[in-house]
C-alpha cells in the first residue's frame, strides 16, 4: 500500500514537471504559424529566388475574427515574401527572418518552378522538397513560362488565393498530376523523364471588352531532359502527348472531315482511355507499338455525315487516323528534338528486356532518336448525344444529294 502511494506520487511529479518546461515545447498555437500556400523557385543571376505566398487568416473572414478587428491588409488574403540566396533552403531561412510567425510548409498546395531555374536544372534545387518531412509530398508541381513569382501575383478573384487557382488547374491538367512525390520518383528512376504542366498569366477579358482581371491558364507541357527543361509542347499538342503518356483526363479532339470543307468538323470527348505499350528488340533495333483504345462520345457535329445510317463508322475512322498522326508527330518531336522519354518507354523496355536494358541504359537518351514508335488508335464512339445528324443538314439537302 505504501509502495503504491509512493508510486502514484512519483507519477504525479513526473507528469507535472513537463508543465514547467515552457521553453522546450514543440507547442505552437495556430495563430503563431504562417502557413505557406504556394511557393515559387526562380533563378536570378545564379542565385535562387524563393517566393512564398502566406495565408493571412485574419482577412480570410473567419467567424471569430469579426470581434478582433484583425483584417487591416485590405482585401488581399495573402502575403507575398521573396528572398534570394544560393539555395532554396537558405532563401526560406531568410524569409523566416522577415516574419513574426513561424513559417510552415505543410499546407503548401502547389510549388512553381520558374523557367530559368528549370532550364538550369532542378535537381539540387528541389532536394529540400523531397528531404524535409514538413514538405507535403502531395504538393503539386507546376512550371511557368517566365518567372514563377509572376503566377503567384495574379488576382484570381474566383478563388480565395492564386495558389488555390493554380492548384485546381494543376489537378485538372493530368490524370495523375505531378506532385513532389511523383517528380522525385521520376527523377530517381533511370530512363524516364519529367513532363510538367506549364502555366502562364492571362487576362480574363481582352482590353476592348473591359477591365479584366489577371488569371492563370494552362499553357502546354514542359518537357525535361534529365533534370533540365528542354522545351515546351503547346497547349494544342498537350492533349495528344497526354494520351500517349496515358495521362489524359477526358481529352477533347476536333476532327476535320473531308478536304474540301475545312469547316466540317466534329468534336469528340474520349473517356476510358487504355494505353498499351509493347517494346520490341530485333537485331539491336528498338521499336515500340503504342496502341490507344478509347470510348468516346460526340460533343459537336458540324459535318454532313449521316450518322444514323452509317453508325458513326466514318467518323471513327477519321478520328483514329487523326489521333494516330498527331500522336506520332508529337512522339517524334519529343524523341528527336528533346531526346526526352516522357512516355515511359524505358520502363516498358526494362521490364521486358532487363538484360538488354543493362547494356544500353547509360546511352538511352542518345539512342532515343533511333527508337521507332508505331502508333495505332482505336476509338469507339458510343454515343452521339441527344441529336443524331447535324442540325445543319436540311431535309431537302439530304433528298437532293
Amino acid at each position: 500500500m505504501q509502495a503504491k502511494l509512493i508510486q502514484a506520487r512519483a507519477l504525479g511529479v513526473v507528469l507535472l514537471l513537463p508543465l514547467l518546461l515552457t521553453g522546450c515545447w514543440d507547442r505552437i498555437e495556430v495563430n503563431d504559424v504562417a502557413f505557406v500556400l504556394a511557393s515559387a523557385t526562380d533563378m536570378e543571376q545564379g542565385e535562387i529566388r524563393s517566393t512564398a505566398q502566406i495565408a493571412l487568416p485574419s482577412s480570410l473572414g473567419g467567424a471569430g475574427s469579426q470581434g478582433g478587428g484583425g483584417g487591416t491588409s485590405g482585401s488581399k488574403t495573402y502575403l507575398m515574401v521573396s528572398q534570394t540566396a544560393p539555395s532554396p533552403y537558405q532563401a526560406n531561412k531568410q524569409i523566416q527572418a522577415k516574419l513574426s510567425r513561424i513559417i510552415n510548409f505543410s499546407h503548401r498546395r502547389v510549388t512553381i518552378i520558374g523557367e530559368e531555374f528549370a532550364r538550369s536544372g532542378i535537381g539540387e534545387g528541389i532536394d529540400v522538397l523531397g528531404r524535409f518531412p514538413q514538405n507535403r509530398l502531395t504538393t503539386y508541381v507546376v512550371l511557368s513560362r517566365g518567372p514563377g513569382y509572376k503566377l503567384l501575383d495574379v488576382e484570381a478573384p474566383i478563388e480565395q488565393s492564386p495558389s488555390e487557382m493554380i492548384r485546381e488547374l494543376a489537378k485538372s491538367a493530368m490524370q495523375d498530376p505531378v506532385s513532389i512525390q511523383s517528380m522525385t520518383n521520376t527523377l530517381l528512376t533511370e530512363g524516364i523523364d519529367l513532363a510538367i504542366p506549364v502555366m502562364s498569366t492571362t487576362e480574363s477579358v481582352p482590353e476592348k471588352v473591359g477591365n479584366g482581371q489577371s488569371l492563370v491558364k494552362l499553357d502546354g507541357l514542359g518537357i525535361f531532359h534529365d533534370d533540365k527543361l528542354s522545351g515546351y509542347l503547346t497547349a494544342e499538342q498537350t492533349p495528344m502527348a497526354l494520351i500517349a503518356m496515358g495521362q489524359a483526363l477526358n481529352p477533347k479532339l476536333t476532327i476535320v472531315m473531308g478536304d474540301h470543307h475545312p469547316q466540317e468538323s466534329a468534336s469528340i470527348v474520349l473517356n476510358e482511355i487504355r494505353r498499351k505499350l509493347r517494346p520490341h528488340l530485333e537485331e539491336g533495333e528498338i521499336s515500340f507499338d503504342l496502341e490507344v483504345k478509347a470510348n468516346g462520345l460526340i460533343l459537336e457535329n458540324v459535318t454532313r455525315q449521316e450518322l444514323q445510317y452509317t453508325m458513326m463508322m466514318p467518323l471513327e475512322k477519321h478520328a483514329n487516323e487523326y489521333l494516330a498522326k498527331e500522336m506520332q508527330a508529337i512522339i517524334n518531336e519529343t524523341l528527336h528534338k528533346h531526346r526526352s522519354d516522357i512516355f515511359g518507354l524505358s520502363t516498358a523496355f526494362k521490364n521486358k528486356y532487363p538484360a538488354a536494358w543493362k547494356k544500353i541504359k547509360h546511352r538511352w537518351h542518345d539512342k532515343l532518336p533511333e527508337v521507332k514508335v508505331r502508333v495505332r488508335a482505336n476509338i469507339h464512339l458510343e454515343n452521339s448525344g441527344e441529336l443524331m445528324n447535324s442540325l445543319g443538314i436540311r431535309e431537302e439537302y439530304l433528298n437532293h444529294d
Partner: protein
C-alpha cells in the same frame, strides 16, 4: 451472573404497568410514538404501541382495534389466557409473538404494532407497513422509446415485486439483510438459483455482511463499501431504475442488490460493455440496435478524446488537418487571447457547471440557466473574441457525446478523464493522448468487478461474448449467456429457430 441479570432485564415483564413504564422510557421524547390503551377483556387491559406515519392507520383501526372492541362486546366470558384469542381476533397476515425487549423495539421501529397485555410476558407484533411512499412511476433517469414505463420506487417490497412480476420462478431468490446500525435499512440480494454462480453469490453475501456503518441512505453507500477497487474512476457496479434491466441482468446470472429507500438497484458484477448497453438495445430490431450501439461507441471515444485531439492537432500537428480546415480554424483563432488549452478548459469547465446547475436548479429557473448558457457562453463569448467558434463546436459535441453513454456513472467518468488527457495533449501532443489512452486501457485490463475482468469478452477474449459487445446479433443467435457470471449454466436458447419464412407460412 451479570449476563443472566441482563437477560432478565431484556425480558418482557408480566406486569403491564412496568412494561408501559419501560416502553415509555425507551421512546422518551419520540413524539411520533403513539400509545393507545385498550380493554381486551373486562379484566385484562392492554397497550398498543406504534409509530405514526410509517404504519397504515386504517389497518390498525380496521383490523386491530375494531375486532378487539367488538370482540370484547361479544365474548365477555373468556378465561385468563387471552393469547390465542388475540391472534384469532386480529385479522392481519403478518404476526409474531416475542418475549424480549430488543425485538419489540425493533418491531415498533420497522412499522409493526406492538400489543402489550396485562399478565402476559409475550408481546404480539403485527406488521402494518404503510405510510406514504411514491407509487410506481416512469423512471426519470433511464427513459426509453420502446420498453416498459415502470420504474422502481423507494419501497423495497414494491421493487422486489416488480421483478417478481417479470421472473415467475421459484428459483428467483431474495435474501434479506438489515444493514446500518441506526437506519436498520432493509437490503435484499436477488439472484436466480442455478444461473448465478455459487462463488459469486457467496462473495456478494460476504461483502454485504461485512458492512459496518451507522446508516445506509442510498445504494451508493453499499456500492462504495463493497466495490473491488475504490481508487478506480470507473464504476464497478451498475445501478438501474428499471425493473426490466434488473430482470435481464438476473437472467444473465448477475446479482441485484435492492436497498429500501431508493429506487436504484445495484447490479454486480459489471463489465465495461454492459455499461454501454441500454435496455432498448434488446427491444428494437437488431439493425437499429447495432447502428445505435456503434454510434454510442464512436461517441464514447469522441467524448473522451475530442477536446484533446483538437488541442493536440491545432498546437502541435497543424499538418494533419486539411489545408482549408486549418486555415478556417486559424482564421477564427486569430483574435483569441488564450492558448488552445486554456480556451478548452474554460469552455469544458463552464459546460460542466452549466450541466450541474441545470440539475440542481428548480425546473422554473432551469430554463433561464440554459438560455444564459447558450446565449452568453455560446454566442457572446465567440462574438467578443474570447473563445473561438471551433472550440465551442468541439465542446458542445463533446457534451452531446457524453450524454449518449447510457449509464450516467460511466459518462461522468469519461468526462472526468477528459481533463488529464487534455493536459497531456497540451504538453506532448498526440503522444500525450496515446500515453493517456494506454494508461486507461492498462487500468481497465487490470480492473475487476467481483472477480470478473472489466473488459471481459475482449480481454480476455471470448467469441460468444463478442455477440453482444460491439454488435448485437439477433436474439435467436444469442444462444448463450455471457460468460462473466455464469460459468456452469450458459445455454439460454433451446432449439435453433427455423430460418426463412417458407417453412412456416401456414397453408
Amino acid at each position: 451472573m451479570k449476563t443472566k441479570e441482563r437477560k432478565e432485564e431484556n425480558k418482557i415483564s408480566r406486569d403491564l404497568a412496568e412494561n408501559v413504564k419501560q416502553v415509555k422510557s425507551v421512546f422518551q421524547d419520540c413524539s411520533d410514538v403513539v400509545y393507545r390503551e385498550i380493554q381486551l377483556t373486562e379484566e385484562i387491559r392492554g397497550l398498543l404501541v406504534y409509530i405514526e406515519g410509517i404504519i397504515k392507520v386504517e389497518d390498525v383501526q380496521q383490523h386491530i382495534l375494531r375486532p378487539l372492541i367488538e370482540g370484547l362486546d361479544q365474548q365477555k366470558e373468556v378465561g385468563q389466557d387471552i393469547y390465542p384469542l388475540s391472534f384469532t381476533r386480529v385479522s392481519l397476515s403478518q404476526a409474531q409473538a416475542t418475549t424480549d425487549w430488543p425485538t419489540v423495539i425493533n418491531g415498533v421501529l420497522t412499522a409493526n404494532v406492538a400489543i402489550f397485555m396485562e399478565g402476559m410476558e409475550e408481546v404480539l407484533l403485527f406488521s402494518v407497513k404503510g405510510g406514504s411512499r411514491r407509487s410506481v412511476q416512469e423512471p426519470q433517469t433511464e427513459a426509453v422509446i420502446r420498453g416498459p414505463r415502470e420504474g422502481f420506487t423507494e419501497s423495497l417490497r414494491i421493487n422486489t415485486a416488480l421483478v417478481r412480476f417479470k421472473i415467475k420462478t421459484e428459483k428467483l431468490k431474495l435474501i434479506d439483510m438489515v444493514i446500518g446500525k441506526m437506519t436498520k435499512t432493509d437490503v435484499a440480494m436477488a439472484y436466480i438459483d442455478g444461473v448465478a454462480e455459487e462463488k459469486l453469490i457467496n462473495d456478494v453475501k460476504d461483502r454485504l455482511e461485512s458492512i459496518d456503518i451507522d446508516g445506509i441512505l442510498e445504494s451508493g453507500y453499499i456500492e462504495e463499501w463493497i466495490e473491488d477497487n475504490p481508487s478506480s474512476p470507473f464504476p464497478q457496479m451498475q445501478y438501474s431504475e428499471r425493473p426490466d434491466s434488473v430482470a435481464a441482468q438476473l437472467l444473465e446470472g448477475r446479482i441485484a442488490i435492492f436497498v429500501d429507500g431508493t429506487p436504484f438497484v445495484l447490479i454486480a458484477p459489471v463489465t465495461l460493455w454492459q455499461l454501454l448497453q441500454a435496455s432498448e438495445d434488446y427491444y428494437e430490431r437488431f439493425f437499429i440496435s447495432n447502428m445505435i450501439r456503434w454510434i454510442r461507441i464512436f461517441f464514447l471515444f469522441l467524448a473522451l478524446f475530442l477536446p484533446s485531439l483538437y488541442i493536440a492537432v491545432t498546437t502541435f500537428h497543424q499538418d494533419m488537418l486539411p489545408s482549408t480546415l486549418i486555415l478556417s480554424i486559424a482564421a477564427s483563432r486569430e483574435a483569441i487571447p488564450f492558448p488552445a488549452l486554456v480556451e478548452a478548459f474554460i469552455m469544458e469547465i463552464s459546460f460542466e457547471a452549466l450541466r450541474e446547475a441545470g440539475i440542481r436548479l428548480p425546473k422554473t429557473v432551469g430554463q433561464a440557466v440554459s438560455i444564459l448558457g447558450a446565449l452568453v457562453i455560446g454566442q457572446a463569448a465567440v462574438q467578443a473574441g474570447i473563445v473561438s467558434a471551433p472550440m465551442v463546436i468541439v465542446v458542445s459535441l463533446t457534451g452531446i457525446a457524453s450524454f449518449t453513454i447510457p449509464r450516467f456513472s460511466l459518462a461522468v467518468t469519461v468526462r472526468m478523464l477528459r481533463f488529464p488527457i487534455m493536459l497531456l495533449a497540451s504538453a506532448f501532443g498526440l503522444f500525450g493522448i496515446v500515453i493517456g489512452a494506454i494508461w486507461i486501457v492498462v487500468h481497465l485490463t487490470q480492473l475487476k468487478s467481483f472477480g470478473v475482468p472489466y473488459m471481459n469478452g475482449v480481454a480476455p477474449y471470448d467469441a460468444t461474448d463478442m455477440k453482444d459487445i460491439f454488435s448485437r446479433v439477433p436474439m435467436w443467435k444469442m444462444n448463450k449467456r455471457p460468460s462473466d457470471a455464469t460459468r456452469g449454466n450458459v445455454r439460454r436458447i433451446g432449439k435453433t429457430r427455423p430460418m426463412g419464412s417458407d417453412s412456416n407460412e401456414g397453408w
